[in-house]
């Protein structure tokens, strides 16, 4: 009975597995060992590989360690400083984020008396569901979790759920500053979501489909950024707003409202809410790369086989995020009313122009 099930699973996995010539000998060797072989087959099963390994959870963790360190290091460089250094000096403090994470893990997570205890503890974890779900729909070449022609729309829909959890976190904290922060988050949500969706829709019109495969294929010659530069710009700015990065770090604004909705968090829970924005940034940048920078189009090395596309997508994403990280040391924070005014006037106007370009170009192509 078990053998049959295993054999069936094996067949399913083998029929749709990643072909990587470089590690093929190792895979062949491991396949001969019972029980290990089913694990290896599972890992190399394309939907699983896309969701859990690349560009999914495993590299997401790697990316988190990298970006927190890189951002601090780059900011320090611009600010005539050195940055994190003393944790693992030979590699210039590269595991600083890991050390911070460990410290958060062992720190006491305080839940204060006036907070709504269940929600206060559950919501940071619940917030991960809308963040991790889009990964299933993001394809990287042949590796894809769930293949659907409406992938882009679905990703946008899931991203729109995240602010609701942040607002709920602010409510559960039961603190004045958290309350102010939640209100700001809600206002920001309205402000950036409309131009963001219009910019995405303009690209869908341009490519004629919500299917990432179509989008990437259409960019094989000219990337989307050149086809529709205004949508590119609007997407970039709304991405900063959506992930509440400077100059739009308004809901958190540590000097004004002391980290806003997250003011009461400590320990591991704070670690979770802190990486929330970084993860959102990752998902949005994946979408950004697929829509504007040609997705997994790029280099192709024979030995890597199927791994080329996820690797290319990941590298592009990380490079884009690294460039975005410089914005943090360039700008101060805008005020909430200024941001709302800009987004409801300039950004929406620009996104409408982008929509027009998308419709026209989509009709031509």
């Amino acid at each position: 009975m078990i053998d049959e099930i295993l054999a069936t699973l094996m067949n399913v996995f083998r029929s749709n597995s990643m072909q990587i010539p470089l590690i093929q000998p190792i895979v062949d060797y491991l396949m001969q060992i019972p029980l290990i072989n089913i694990l290896v087959a599972l890992i190399l099963w394309r939907p699983f590989f896309a969701v859990v390994i690349m560009p999914g959870l495993a590299v997401l963790l790697l990316y988190l360690l990298y970006i927190v360190w890189f951002e601090r290091k780059l900011t320090a460089r611009i600010q005539w400083r050195v940055g994190p250094l003393e944790v693992a000096r030979p590699i210039r403090g590269a595991i600083q984020a890991l050390a911070d994470g460990l410290r958060y893990f062992f720190q006491e997570a305080i839940v204060h008396r006036d907070a709504h205890r269940p929600y206060f503890v559950q919501l940071p974890i619940l917030a991960f569901i809308p963040i991790l779900l889009p990964i299933a729909f993001i394809p990287a070449g042949n590796a894809v979790g769930i293949k659907t022609p409406y992938a882009i729309q679905l990703i946008v829909a899931f991203l729109a759920l995240i602010p609701i959890t942040i607002i709920a976190i602010g409510w559960a904290s039961n603190n004045r500053f958290a309350f102010v922060g939640s209100v700001r988050e809600a206002l920001m949500y309205v402000a950036y979501e409309i131009p963001f969706i219009i910019a995405v829709i303009s690209m869908i019109y341009l490519y004629g489909s919500g299917d990432p495969y179509v989008a990437v294929e259409k960019q094989s010659l000219v990337p989307g950024a050149i086809l529709n530069p205004i949508a590119f710009l609007v997407f970039l700015i709304t991405m900063l707003m959506a992930t509440s990065r400077l100059p739009f770090e308004i809901p958190e604004a540590d000097q004004e409202i002391a980290f806003g909705p997250f003011v009461e968090y400590s320990g591991m829970l704070f670690g979770l809410v802190m990486v929330l924005a970084y993860e959102k940034l990752y998902i949005m940048t994946l979408l950004f790369v697929i829509l504007f920078l040609g997705g997994w189009n790029g280099f192709y090395f024979e030995p890597l086989g199927d791994l080329n596309a996820p690797l290319c997508l990941f590298i592009k994403t990380v490079v884009v995020i690294s460039i975005i990280a410089i914005v943090r040391s360039m700008y101060a924070r805008y005020r909430i009313d200024q941001t709302l005014r800009y987004s409801f006037s300039w950004l929406i106007a620009f996104s409408m122009v982008a929509l027009g370009i998308g419709v026209v170009l989509g009709w031509i192509l």
């Binding site: 611009i78 004045r176 540590d254 004004e256 002391a258 101060a332 924070r333």
Partner: protein, 407 residues
């Protein structure tokens, strides 16, 4: 648009009763009855400094701010009554250690006016250099705090980097990076070598070059301008009525500077401009101080190039301070009377009054009125009608420094 009234009975939070607040209970109830909201900013808040601001907001608009200072009150004036006149010098520097030379200068000038000491020219020039270095240091410090208050971390780091040169100049001249206690009745404690003065002269140009970097990335930054312009406006009349002093008064268009009105030390012998602005908003207050930094650099350069030769301490006191310090200053007794001096400290007019009974070697009373305390009212008034997010921007634009105000 018609306003929709929703009757929601809101009870004031219990913590407002349990906390010690300098506001009556009626006020709290009145606030909540009128559908306003009280926010306690500080003292454990990243953007409040060592004070509490009780902010009454309606929506996002600040209706009224009640300051609750005194968290860093160190009873300077009482402590000064128990120390020798000379031992008070390190003490009076402490309210604002960034601005130590100006505080030191004000106190020492009060003693000199009591003892009728004529300060030699060289000492006057050296004192002017010290005072201006501390002024630049304070303005840079305030700019850094302003930057971090509006979320610009690079703008925080650059002034502190530049201030390192000021500290180094002070260290080379006096031996301490700040709180140098270098100015004593009759002159300064030690002569400064030509080589050191040359170094300071070169450093002023290096500071200017680094300030250009700072200007591009923070002063002229569009986000900075957006946050500070048309925010916390104090008109000329308001600024005068609320008793605002120093660069903040000049930012509202009033040409008042103690260095011009009652010149002291070498300020008469160097040429410099009094910096003013018309707008009276946060950005004008910031720009006035930025421009004052370049004026101060000019004063330092002129002082060094036209530094006279001669004694560094008055012959009425002693020939050489080294070794004679206790014998000459240990039992200083001022003639009975009240001696007041006005000094232009970095943040504004600083008043020192020493009352001596003519018998004891400790002051009968020392009164310090610091600029921070004087412009607190104007600061609170300028907050009215602004948004909650502007609280920190206006705070930074005033460079309010609670230890200085609380003394």
């Amino acid at each position: 648009m018609e306003e929709i009234k929703i009757e929601v009975p809101v009870e004031p939070p219990k913590e407002l009763e349990t906390l010690f607040l300098p506001i009556p209970k009626d006020y709290v109830e009145d606030t909540y009855r009128k559908d306003d909201f009280l926010i306690l900013v500080g003292p454990q808040h990243p953007g409040s400094g060592h004070m509490r601001l009780i902010v009454r907001v309606k929506g996002d608009i600040i209706q009224e701010v009640i300051p609750d200072p005194g968290y860093v009150h160190r009873s300077m004036e009482k402590l000064a009554e128990n120390r020798l006149y000379i031992q008070n010098i390190p003490l009076v520097e402490r309210p604002a250690i960034m601005d130590s030379a100006n505080f030191n200068l004000g106190y020492v000038r009060a003693i000199e006016s009591a003892m009728d000491i004529e300060v030699p020219e060289r000492a006057k020039f050296l004192r002017t250099i010290l005072a201006e270095l501390c002024r630049i240091g304070t303005h840079l410090y305030d700019a850094a705090i302003l930057a971090v208050f509006i979320g610009h971390t690079t703008g925080f780091m650059y002034p502190f980097g530049i201030r390192e040169l000021i500290c180094e100049a002070l260290a080379r001249m006096t031996g301490a990076r700040f709180t140098s206690s270098f100015i004593i009745p009759g002159g300064v404690r030690r002569d400064v070598e030509e080589k050191t003065l040359r170094w300071v002269y070169d450093a002023t140009f290096a500071i200017e070059k680094r300030l250009k970097s700072f200007e591009r990335i923070f002063i002229k930054n569009p986000t900075t301008i957006a946050r500070l312009r048309d925010v916390g406006v104090l008109s000329k009349e308001e600024a005068i009525r609320f008793g605002v002093v120093g660069p903040f008064l000049r930012a509202s268009g009033v040409e008042y500077d103690t260095r011009i009105v009652e010149p002291y030390e070498a300020y008469e012998e160097v040429t410099w401009d009094i910096v003013t602005a018309d707008e009276g908003d946060g950005y004008a207050r910031f720009l006035v101080r930025v421009n004052e930094v370049s004026q101060s650099l000019g004063i330092i350069r002129q002082c060094i190039t036209s530094m006279p030769e001669g004694r560094y301490v008055s012959e009425q006191i002693c020939d050489d301070v080294k070794g004679n310090f206790f014998d000459k200053f240990g039992n200083l007794v001022l003639p009975a009377g009240e001696y007041t001096t006005l000094t232009e400290a970095a943040r504004g007019t600083l008043l020192f009054t020493i009352v001596s009974d003519g018998e004891s070697n400790v002051p009968y009373r020392v009164r310090i009125v610091t600029p921070g305390w004087l412009y607190l009212r104007g600061f609170m008034e300028s907050l009215k009608g602004e948004r909650l997010a502007d609280l920190q921007a206006i705070y930074g634009s005033f460079g309010y420094f609670p230890p200085e105000a609380d003394r």
